[in-house]
């Protein structure tokens, strides 16, 4: 788990790193820590998975991935884990999760995100998933995103 200093570091960096030559030094100064401690703690959080990665977070639409489809599948419970792992391994799937159904409104228990420069490209990818699932798939749909309403990422408060 994290302590108060980690927490302060998260609050200071969750909106982004300062765009200055020595960003970790700038954060250290802001928090009253040594730059070495800031860097050591960030390395530790990266190693433990609290920080997934450090870098650029693009807006998919702006970089040409204008079709973003959430493919959803109703897969037989006894096969969903094995098939989910195989779908997650497809190179065009960026996220793949098993989630609970919400019957009767929502029969789907497997979610896989696919992205493309067009809807045609996304639906071709969905067709590949459909083939892989075979008879284990009872129903499916693809929900295209038409607008980003918010994308700030995690925000914890002080």
């Amino acid at each position: 788990m994290i302590d108060d200093i980690d927490r302060a570091l998260i609050v200071a960096t969750q909106g982004g790193l300062p765009l200055v030559s020595r960003p970790y030094h700038a954060i250290a100064e802001q928090l009253g820590l040594s730059p070495e401690e800031v860097m050591r703690r960030l390395r530790a959080m990266l190693a433990s998975g609290i920080v997934r990665r450090i870098g650029a977070v693009p807006n998919h639409y702006a970089i040409g991935w204008t079709a973003n489809g959430m493919t959803v599948w109703d897969v037989a419970d006894e096969q969903v884990d094995e098939l989910g792992a195989r779908i997650g391994a497809l190179d065009f799937v960026t996220h793949c999760y098993r989630r609970p159904r919400a019957l009767p409104a929502w029969p789907y228990n497997l979610f896989a995100m696919v992205h493309g420069a067009s809807r045609q490209e996304c639906s071709a990818k969905a067709a590949e998933i459909r083939t892989l699932l075979g008879d284990a798939c009872r129903a499916n749909d693809i929900l295209y995103s038409t607008r980003i309403l918010k994308k700030t990422g995690l925000r914890i408060s002080r």
Binding site: I10, T13, Q14, G15, G16, L17, L19, S21, P23, Y24, H25, P35, M39, L42, R43, M45, L46, I50, V51, R52, R53, I54, G55, A56, V57, P58, N59, A62, I63, W65, M70, D81, G84, G88, A89, T94, H95, C96, Y97, R98, P100, A102, A105, W106, F111, A117, D141, L143, S145, T146, R147, I148, L149, K150, K151, T152, G153, L154, R155, I156
Partner: protein, 152 residues
Amino acid sequence: MPELSDLDRKILAQLQGDFPICERPYAEAAAQLGIEEAELLARLQALLADKVLTRFGPMFQIEEMGGAFVLAALAAPEARYDEVTALVNALPEVAHNYRREHELNMWFVLATETKEGIAEAIARIERDTGLPVYAFPKEREFFVEMKLEARR
């Protein structure tokens, strides 16, 4: 939409992770791209200003800190869509929110510092909007690697 230069595409391809933790990380990253530190800083500033990047920095995994991430959805009536969007987005716990084509037409991710925070945020959204919220917590993660190169 701003045009992307070859350099922008290179930055997007190489800098979606592995940004160094050292005294002058931009200088180090710039050297790998074959440019000067000042040029990289200027490009990142421009990409952020043009909203090609939503952020540049660490991506945190709240679950590793004892918190929770949950995908949730609701069906907002068309006539109330903007109002419902504003109510949902007003919660700091809403990390992302997308409009999608389906009867469930608003899909958002809740990120809370405690597991209990999810139920509180959902209750708050249901109260504020008067609409039922469907929660889809992940039961199992098969793959997550959100790195896409520029396509244009």
